[in-house]
């Protein structure tokens, strides 16, 4: 690879690109929400780049990514730090990070485009207008994280049923428990612990 | 670069159905008569009567290994239940009179309804106590209770293990 794609994108859209990195050889762009669609379009249309294949869309809930506060770890008990649940407090920067992966057929290269959005304004412009193949991937992200995609043609739940409450891949969604549509008594006759607790 | 696959041309032979039907019939008939008359080539195994011998690495029913004196090698270190992705191993540790190895399980249960036979417990065991190499696969049971394998059950499949416990240079 003679030149990193992220460099040419940065040259083209200096305002939209917030950050780039190449961790482990993965070309990565962190862009602002407004810049997502133009950048995806540029990546697709620029003949030198030719990122015309939608690989993947996913999301990362960054709420637990921030380090737990220093004082919470006990200097004499190092194990405690590794076995605490992720810190569900504040995270630095916006909570959700929607990650687009694209592949260039002619270059064989992969590029990652990330957008960060706040929880209370979790809306990302849909990439489906640029590459229709993002359709289901974005639906899945909506389903699992509750991030909405403006301009998506068919934003419904993907893997879960329409009556499902909550977005299970969020870090604050409990890992265990049931979400019944009706009262489902367990063997002891108690209500199964679930979301309502 | 890519190699274009060879796609059969729709020539008269193909279009007229019959030659290929005939070829196909020949091939199926060959199997039919070979199997009917010579009983060769039967690929299936009559399960309860015949059984395949599993390769040595086959991960089947768990077993607990013995020491030379017949006691259980397990020292209830809980590494297996830590490594278990299905959380199917339930251990309660207890003390023994032996001052060398003071710890032994009083309860050692495997919930086969949860177990996925991944072999992580075997890999995690630091005492060569639990193994999945019994060569038997799990047989289903009629009630949930029967799917729990207790210590006695697991030991009954066990065998003495020769590897040193507590170190060669002890």
């Amino acid at each position: 690879m003679s030149e990193w794609a992220s460099d040419s994108v940065k040259k083209q859209f200096p305002d939209f690109v917030l950050e780039t990195h190449r961790q482990h050889g993965d070309d990565t762009l962190l862009v602002s929400r407004e810049g997502l669609v133009p950048i995806l379009e540029f990546l697709r249309d620029d003949p030198a780049l030719d990122f015309c294949m939608p690989l993947d869309v996913t999301c990362v809930d960054r709420i637990g990514l921030s380090e737990p506060p220093e004082s919470e770890t006990d200097p004499m008990n190092p194990m405690l730090a590794t076995h605490t649940t992720p810190n569900l407090g504040e995270c630095d920067g916006p909570r959700f990070e929607v990650v687009y992966h694209l592949r260039s057929l002619s270059r064989g290269a992969m590029i990652r485009v990330k957008v960060r959005v706040e929880e209370d304004d979790a809306v990302v412009p849909s990439g489906t207008a640029v590459l229709k193949g993002f359709n289901w991937f974005e639906r899945e992200v909506y389903d699992m994280f509750g991030v909405r995609f403006s301009g998506h043609p068919d934003l419904r739940r993907m893997l879960l049923y329409p009556e499902f409450e909550g977005h299970p891949l969020r870090k604050d969604y409990p890992r265990k428990g049931y979400q019944p549509l009706m009262d489902m008594p367990n063997l002891d006759g108690d209500r199964v612990p679930g979301l309502e607790e | 670069m890519g190699k274009l696959v060879e796609r059969p041309e729709p020539d008269v032979i193909i279009q007229s159905y019959l030659p290929e039907v005939w070829n196909g019939m020949k091939r199926t008939s060959r199997h039919f008569f070979a199997n009917l008359l010579m009983k060769k080539g039967i690929a299936t195994i009559q399960y309860p009567d015949e059984k395949v011998t599993y390769p040595p690495r086959f991960r089947g029913n768990h077993r607990l290994m013995h020491r030379e004196d017949g006691s259980v090698r397990c020292v209830a270190c809980y590494l297996c239940s830590t490594a278990c992705p299905a959380d199917c191993i339930h251990i309660v540790a207890g003390e023994t009179d032996d001052t060398d190895v003071e710890k032994a399980p009083t309860v050692f249960e495997i919930d086969h309804l949860r177990c996925i036979f991944c072999g992580f417990c075997e890999e995690a065991c630091p005492c060569d106590a639990i193994r999945l190499d019994s060569g038997e696969h799990r047989v289903p049971a009629f009630c949930r209770k029967d799917e729990m394998s207790g210590k006695e059950d697991l030991l009954s499949r066990g065998a003495p293990s020769v590897s040193k416990q507590g170190g060669e240079f002890k």
Partner: protein, 551 residues
Amino acid sequence: MPTLKIDGREITVEEGTRVIEAADALGIPIPRFCYHPGLPVAANCRMCLVETNRSPKPVPSCYDICQDGMEVQTASEKVKEARRAVLEYTLLNHPVDCPICDQAGECDLQDLYFDYDCKPSRHAFRKAHKPKARTIGPRIVYDAERCINCTRCVRFCEDVAGAPQLRQVHRGEKTYIDVFPGTELDNPYSLCAADVCPVGALTPKDFRFKCRVWFMKGVQSVCGECSRGCSVRLDTFKNEVQRVKPRHNPNVNQYWACDAGRLAYHRFDEGRLAGTRIRGEEVAYFDAVARFADAFQEAIGGGKQVAVVLSPFMTCEDAFAALTLLKAKAPGAVYAVGGRVEGEADDVLARADRNPNRAGLDKVMGAFGIQPVPLDTLHEAVHPVVLVFGFEHEEQNHARMALQAAELSAVFTSLDNLGDVETYAFPTVTPYETYGTWLNEFEVLQRVRPALKVPGEARQARAVVADLAERLGAPLDVASAPGLFDAMAVAVEAFSGLKLDDVGPFGIKLSEKPADPSDEPDAEEGAESDDGADAEDAADIAEETAATEEA
């Protein structure tokens, strides 16, 4: 005030500071076995070697005093090699005991080996044998083979517990720790000797083979054994407290806690009040609330005298909720404070007052203008209505006598130890299940956090109070712990200006509380979000318990 550089980072420290302390202050990790911030320095493990510009050889950073212009390398190749060699040597005679060792998982030897050595053994000889699994005290088991002779425990007993009961015996590879003949390691802080042990040589008997440390969840809470209120960590698994460990808190207990407090959790295992009762009959909770509220309303309507026994085990929030209601409905009530009888104080940690929140209760009562009468005088006058809060009253007789004499009485307790003398009994939670604040004798406010799921019918005392208040027509504005704390911060002068978030892991000294904040958020909004936090916390607990049950 020497200024030195550690790994290129500059720091100015007090005169006489050890290098390791300076590194700790910078957050630079230095491995250690024998060094403990609460103990005198011995410098015998050699694990904390660092390279300095003052010495051609690596020096133990726990012993070296910071000097001006010192340059310290903590991660150079030389240092790493030195540490690796030390570890290899330390492990020479270590038995292959991890599977049966309770320390596995929080063992410094394990962690440091993994971080600094992680090489196969080169040792091909017989290991030295020493006594194994010896009971050297009523609460401690000692395994000499695992011991690395760091002498932390020896120094602890001598310098902190003030009971020099341990010593090293023999020489060379045969060295191990022992008690003097005919004596035992039985000082009231002996469990801390096991805590300071970096390996699994000293292990507490109470925790022996009970649970693996990596399964447990640590919850930072406060010990309720005496009015010192030591910071502790409650290690739980499968919704049971498995052990209690002291937590570093420079404001309260440094690094230690007494054995009695650490074993106190056994007291709450049995004798729980199982269900809501009316005269010994189990009834549904909301029925009981309704019936009691009606009876109470009628009684105070009839002008009957109300007596209330509060407990210094109640959190400030519970007490505040209860008093808010009682002040509104029964302004003329008589108050007494129960709790456990005085014990002996010692000069390490233990205080004579065996109750954790007497100071907080006083502050809250003070805010309502209440002057409590002594509990033993309460039964001298007959009070037709008696309410008893709290779960532990060693002076039960007085409370029971007051209850027996009453026409209408109610207890809000977790332990069923008052006998069947009351008319109404509402099960509440133990300090391991509640959420709130305690103020200790030295006016350090600390947060109590729930480690366990609330069992069965039991409820938070404030929740019962809130239900009663609803029924009595004087509903509380807020019933969650953070909400009550905010209300308390307004009503109780000592807490004014405090926010629950200010109460960090070390608690907060009331004398050092922040100045009255001008940017206090809108009260309602704050309460709302805090409610959420409470619910979130409850969900956390539920989830944690579920997860541990799964394991």
